[in-house]
């Protein structure tokens, strides 16, 4: 690194160097988060578990879910859990399809185990629907633990049992499971999501277990003790788009621990179009902006009672939250240096991408080892997660001589030669790519909206699925700054999810 700082006399030059290296911070932080996972072998909650089967009320919010609800209820009733200690409460959010008929029929099929709760005025969002059921369930002493889920997700038979065992420890207020993308056969986008969930859930939540601070309980798989629900006020936050994260934070602020159980698997269907994914993720990302602002008094202020103020938790949170900013700032600084001091910019470009390459190699190989069953299905999406162009830049910075030799050979074969202009243009594109990859991936959404959906995979594979999510995060800043309306867009489900054999 000495060469990039050598002779950086002015403050401005120093600032540019630091700004460029900001581009490596998020992946380096992600690597640190992955490094912590190994400690889960010695620092986990398994020692404090016990066979424990509290009376569980399963709360299922449902709006026009007739197509999937019947099968979901059958599977829930069939979970490996004592039947007399399990009840399914379906909160029908003023559905206009056959949802009420389906739930009533299941109520007759499983007397005393399936309860139909109807909201006549619906469409206010998931949190309102959950609160309707929560009020009624808490009024009754029967429930000892509450499982909040989505109508279409599939719980593996032993998953609930594996979650409740953690509640044997009174310090634990909530438990979440490993949500996996389970669309069959699933398209390229769903395979990207499947890989993303290895990194964001199986990996990140294990390291959060180690650190003792959980960022978010999965919306489709959160088990709460009654004591915890009462401690957080007996209701879910309705003022934001991230009710799951608010519940997670409030649980920890109430002094209760949140545990991720990686062996409890829940299968979910994720959007198969960029437009659908964009809607879902924009809601999540706007929710994260709201959480960041609402809990601003917590960040970087370590407390004995909970881990939410820990420096490590804040660093991981903000590295993800500010990822698009880091990427844009890094690119702009590198381009500025290109014109001011090319030699320095070239050295910095290499350092930046070498750090990114090492992080990418470590994260990708380790993530695939964490969930080999999923990795077998999505290995191509794992490799191309940052986008094909970024992978090429990584290959170039790792093996410049090999890469240049191959380019020369390719040039000789095709008759294309590199001149001064093509070289400069290539360097400029490579320098700006950290910022440019986001709009390129975003073009995939634009193509879909204009009826050219066949072009979308091209843009996502080129720009990257990770950068697509960064574009969503960036858009969430804009929406929140504009004070855009908080609209609950329900993710469309087709019932194509199943447990792979």
């Amino acid at each position: 690194m000495g060469d990039v700082f050598a002779g950086a006399g002015t403050l401005g030059m120093w600032a540019l160097v630091v700004m460029v290296m900001l581009g490596a911070v998020p992946l380096a932080a992600a690597s640190a988060q992955f490094l912590i996972i190994g400690l889960h072998a010695v620092r986990n909650h398994y020692e404090r578990t016990a066979p424990y089967s509290p009376r569980v009320a399963i709360l299922v919010p449902a709006w026009n879910e007739a197509a999937v609800l019947g099968a979901s209820i059958d599977r829930l009733v069939g979970l490996e859990y004592p039947a007399d200690r399990l009840r399914v409460y379906v909160v029908d959010d003023a559905s206009t399809d056959a949802t009420p008929d389906v739930v009533r029929a299941k109520g007759q099929q499983y007397p005393g185990q399936v309860v139909h709760l109807r909201r006549e005025k619906g469409g206010e969002g998931k949190a309102h629907t959950l609160n309707h059921g929560l009020r009624l369930i808490l009024d009754d002493d029967w429930m000892e633990a509450l499982l909040i889920m989505d109508a279409d997700v599939i719980y593996e038979a032993d998953s609930l049992r594996k979650m409740t065992r953690h509640l044997a420890d009174p310090a634990v207020g909530a438990v979440t499971a490993y949500i996996k993308e389970g669309s069959q056969p699933g398209n390229y986008l769903q395979r990207f999501v499947a890989y993303e969930y290895i990194t964001a859930q199986a990996a990140a939540r294990r390291s959060q277990n180690v650190l003792g601070a959980m960022a978010c309980l999965a919306g489709g798989a959160q088990l709460h003790s009654r004591r915890n629900l009462e401690a957080i006020g007996g209701q879910i936050d309705t003022s934001s788009l991230a009710e799951d994260t608010f519940t997670t934070f409030n649980t920890q602020l109430a002094g209760h621990r949140v545990v991720f159980e990686g062996n409890a698997t829940v299968w979910a269907e994720e959007p198969d179009s960029i437009v659908g994914l964009w809607k879902q993720r924009l809601r999540w990302a706007r929710g994260n902006v709201q959480v960041t602002l609402r809990f601003k008094h917590l960040w970087f202020r370590p407390r004995r009672e909970h881990g939410l103020g820990d420096i490590s938790f804040a660093v991981f949170w903000f590295c993800l939250f500010l990822l698009p900013v880091f990427m844009i700032v890094s690119s702009v600084a590198l381009l500025t240096l290109y014109f001011l001091d090319f030699e320095r910019s070239w050295a910095l470009f290499h350092h930046l991408w070498i750090i990114n390459a090492v992080s990418y190699l470590f994260i990708t190989t380790f993530a695939m080892a964490i969930d080999p069953q999923t990795a077998k299905r999505v290995w191509a999406q794992a490799i191309l997660f940052p986008g094909a162009v970024s992978v090429l830049v990584i290959l170039y910075t790792c093996t410049p001589r090999v890469f240049e030799y191959l380019v020369e050979r390719w040039g000789a074969m095709t008759g294309l030669t590199w001149n001064h202009i093509t070289t400069e243009v290539t360097i400029l594109i490579a320098y700006s790519w950290l910022g440019l990859c986001m709009p390129v991936a975003y073009l995939g959404k634009k193509a879909e909206e204009r009826g050219r959906g066949w072009l979308s995979p091209l843009f996502v594979y080129l720009g990257g699925y990770g950068p697509l999510l960064c574009a969503v995060t960036f858009t969430s800043y804009v929406y929140e700054l504009r004070g855009a309306e908080m609209k609950w867009d329900k993710t469309e489900k087709t019932g194509k999810v199943s447990i792979p054999r």
């Binding site: 889960h40 398994y46 080892a369």
Partner: protein, 48 residues
């Protein structure tokens, strides 16, 4: 009584399996670290 015994045995087996899985991840992590370090060394020595 039998039920309780079965539950306890099942719980012990599942916790043992969970711990074994965490140990597998630790080994995978160590292998991934060694692979990355080896790659960086190979790159410095032969690929630059």
């Amino acid at each position: 009584m039998n039920d309780q015994h079965h539950c306890d045995a099942q719980h012990r087996d599942e916790i043992d399996a969970a711990k074994q899985e965490e140990r597998r991840l630790l080994i995978c992590e160590l292998i991934a670290i060694v692979a990355v370090v080896a790659f960086v060394l190979v790159r410095q020595r032969w690929l630059l």
